[in-house]
């Protein structure tokens, strides 16, 4: 451990930072004698970067050398940037020392592709194998599976890692071919298939033998870049929804495209990353996973893109006034979840509280419902004066579109300070 490591850490952390995933949840592993640490089952964020993203895992690359030349990637081979490679020992040591100081929950290991996918994958597996079997590290390990790696290596990785992931990056094959000519959907979907097979097989074996090894117990995740291609939100969400149909896919992440390679003419020129669109996609993703929405309800041929000004749930409600207003004291849980301004927590609170007596607007407000939104879609003991039918959807929509704030700087007179003559 010396300044050499410091430099490597800096280079390789910067190369890895565009990966969004940082979850450390979904698996609990208790402390074993002679080992280090445990995994708690719920994710713990130990720090937050200045862009507001959580740091839960030591997100790092083994190397940022890469044989590929993907247009959207900072580590593409034609980029002139400092390259570095960690030795297995350095990385293992760093992970353990950080973990002991309560800086991190575990390791997120990724890598550029060197020589060929199998060679790279082998080296990644070596790191996590060392961590698990030599140092008996019980913390969380998330490993990227390299596109095109063989089934045997994915199998081996699964027995050491908690979560495996393969990033699909671009939601349709044609655009992928354009931006990353060396990759295709097959090389990405195949490892996903291997992971799924591994998980299901291990689950089957554990039914028979209690101590059969677990395979990637926290499942798999993937990531898509938003705004680098012309794909609509419909394409993106339909793909996510298809992924969520698979038994092992836990999360799809969306990453607003940050122009890292501005010189590449295949990519759009963006003033700033599409952060609002990314946010709306995450909201829609939540609707798919927790609010029992179907993907066609959120985006379809008539509305292929999400409304950037209002959230997808409100926008669904405004398109479907026929479902509203609903009676808070009678409606079932699924319907409560569809009311804008009511989340999962407050829906559950409503369900358990209304057994004891009818709820009024005052109580709803106290429970934590955002009445500003919800009032147009519900009735309760006291009838609210205005529902969506009296008001018209368009009117309500206008209430929630934030008006641009006047910037005090614009009001200031622009006085040129010329040098005195």
């Amino acid at each position: 451990m010396n300044t050499n490591v410091l430099n490597k850490l800096k280079i390789l952390a910067e190369s890895a930072k565009y990966d969004v995933s940082c979850a450390s949840s979904g698996v609990s592993r208790s402390y074993k004698k002679g080992g280090i640490g445990d995994t708690s089952g719920w994710g713990i964020c130990h720090s937050f970067t200045e862009d507001g993203r959580c740091i839960s895992l030591l997100k790092i690359m083994l190397t940022n050398n890469c044989i590929y030349d993907c247009a959207y990637c900072i580590n593409r081979r034609s980029n002139d940037l400092p390259r570095a490679t960690f030795s297995v020992n350095e990385l293992v040591n760093l992970t353990i020392e950080f973990y002991r100081r309560n800086y991190i929950e575990g390791l997120f290991l990724s890598s550029g592709v060197v020589r060929n996918p199998d060679y790279t994958m082998e080296r990644l597996v070596k790191v996590i194998k060392d961590l698990r079997s030599i140092h008996r590290f019980n913390g969380y390990i998330h490993m990227k599976s390299i596109p095109g790696a063989s089934q045997e290596l994915v199998k081996e990785a699964g027995f050491y890692a908690d979560r495996l992931s393969v990033n699909i990056e671009i939601p349709n094959e044609k655009s992928l071919q354009q931006l990353a000519p060396e990759k295709d959907f097959k090389s990405i979907l195949e490892p996903m298939q291997y992971i799924q097979q591994g998980v299901l097989q291990s689950a089957e074996e554990r039914k028979k033998y209690r101590y059969a090894p677990r395979f990637a117990p926290a499942g798999q995740s993937t990531q898509m870049i938003i705004g680098a291609t012309t794909d609509t939100d419909k394409d993106i969400l339909q793909l996510s929804s298809a992924f969520y149909q698979k038994p092992t896919m836990k999360r799809v992440y969306y990453s607003g495209y940050i122009p890292v390679n501005e010189y590449d003419k295949r990519l759009p020129m963006l003033k700033q990353p599409p952060l609002i669109r990314e946010n709306r996609l995450y909201q829609a993703d939540w609707l798919l996973r927790f609010y029992s929405f179907k993907v066609d309800e959120i985006v379809n041929d008539t509305f292929p893109d999400l409304d950037l000004e209002i959230d997808p749930k409100l926008s669904w409600a405004l398109r479907h006034p026929e479902y509203f207003p609903i009676d808070i004291n009678r409606a079932d849980y699924e319907m409560l979840l569809r009311v804008p301004g009511i989340g999962i927590k407050s829906a559950k609170l409503i369900i358990v509280s209304r057994r004891h007596g009818n709820l009024g607007t005052y109580q709803l407000k106290k429970i934590g419902i955002i009445m500003k939104k919800a009032q147009y879609f519900i009735t309760c003991r006291e009838l609210p004066p205005k529902t969506i039918h009296e008001m018209s959807p368009n009117f309500i929509k206008n209430l929630f579109i934030s008006k641009p704030k006047s910037n005090p700087r614009n009001l200031q007179l622009n006085i040129p300070f010329d040098s005195a003559e």
Partner: protein, 255 residues
């Protein structure tokens, strides 16, 4: 208006419940001996803490409430908020009087308040687990200081004991001046007599009592923290929201 005077301990509060039922008079306000009395009141009763009475009340609550609600109630006490005792009193009163469990009746203001404060204390516990930073000392003890909003240090011990079983650690509440030390076998409560002597103004340990590699790892962590930020997405408001400023003093990466 009836006033109870008690010693502001948890057992004292439970004794108040017992005596209130015994005397059939329920207080509108709970004060300690030091508090100044209001201008007008009808009755002033002094309650003497009695462990037998308090444990009888606690056993009654164990029958009436679920484990979750009980720990929520205990967590509320740890919040040390000024008026929490009277809210807890009213809550326990309602629980004992009700024929059915009322712990899920969030339409009731006291039940809602207790669950909200319980959640807040739980959140603070979570934050301590997140933002505790150990610094290795020269004698091999991992030391972490913190100033929690509520008195939640005792709640994180179990987590730390599970996770850092093979290292000696010491956590210290700088605000309330006590802490816990784990010596590989058991956890003991400790107090530093001379807190000022540690010279802990900056939040970092003095370099001459740091382990020889500690400085390097702190530097590595800081460098990692800086490198992993995406400059195009900087969002200080979100940053502060996720990681409140009151923790920064003891966070290595914010130094």
């Amino acid at each position: 208006m009836t006033i109870f005077i008690y010693d502001k301990t948890f057992e004292g509060l439970l004794t108040c419940i017992f005596d209130a039922y015994f005397k059939k008079s329920f207080p509108d306000s709970l004060l300690s001996e030091k508090d100044s009395l209001p201008l007008f009141y009808d009755e002033l009763i002094t309650i003497y803490t009695d462990n037998e009475k308090s444990s009888r009340v606690w056993i009654c609550l164990q029958h009436k409430l679920s484990q979750l609600a009980l720990s929520c109630l205990a967590a509320c006490w740890l919040s040390e908020l000024p008026n929490i005792d009277i809210v807890m009193f009213r809550y326990i009163h309602k629980v004992i009087d009700a024929k059915q469990s009322i712990e899920l009746n969030f339409g009731d203001p006291d039940v809602l308040e207790i669950s909200k404060i319980g959640r807040k204390v739980g959140q603070e516990k979570g934050r301590i687990i997140q933002f505790l930073r150990f610094q290795k000392t020269i004698d091999g003890i991992y030391f972490a200081a913190i100033e929690p909003l509520y008195n939640v240090l005792s709640l994180v011990i179990e987590h730390l004991k599970r996770r850092f079983k093979d290292q000696k650690w010491l956590i210290y509440d700088m605000k309330r001046n006590y802490g816990y030390y784990y010596d590989l076998f058991e956890v003991k409560e400790i107090t530093f007599d001379n807190l000022k002597d540690i010279q802990f103004i900056s939040g970092l340990l003095n370099e001459n009592i740091m382990d020889k590699d500690e400085k390097l790892f702190q530097q590595l962590w800081k460098e990692y923290f800086k490198a992993t930020t995406i400059q195009e997405r900087i969002n200080p408001k979100l940053h502060r929201q996720n990681m409140p400023v009151r923790f920064w003093k003891y966070l290595i990466e914010k130094h």
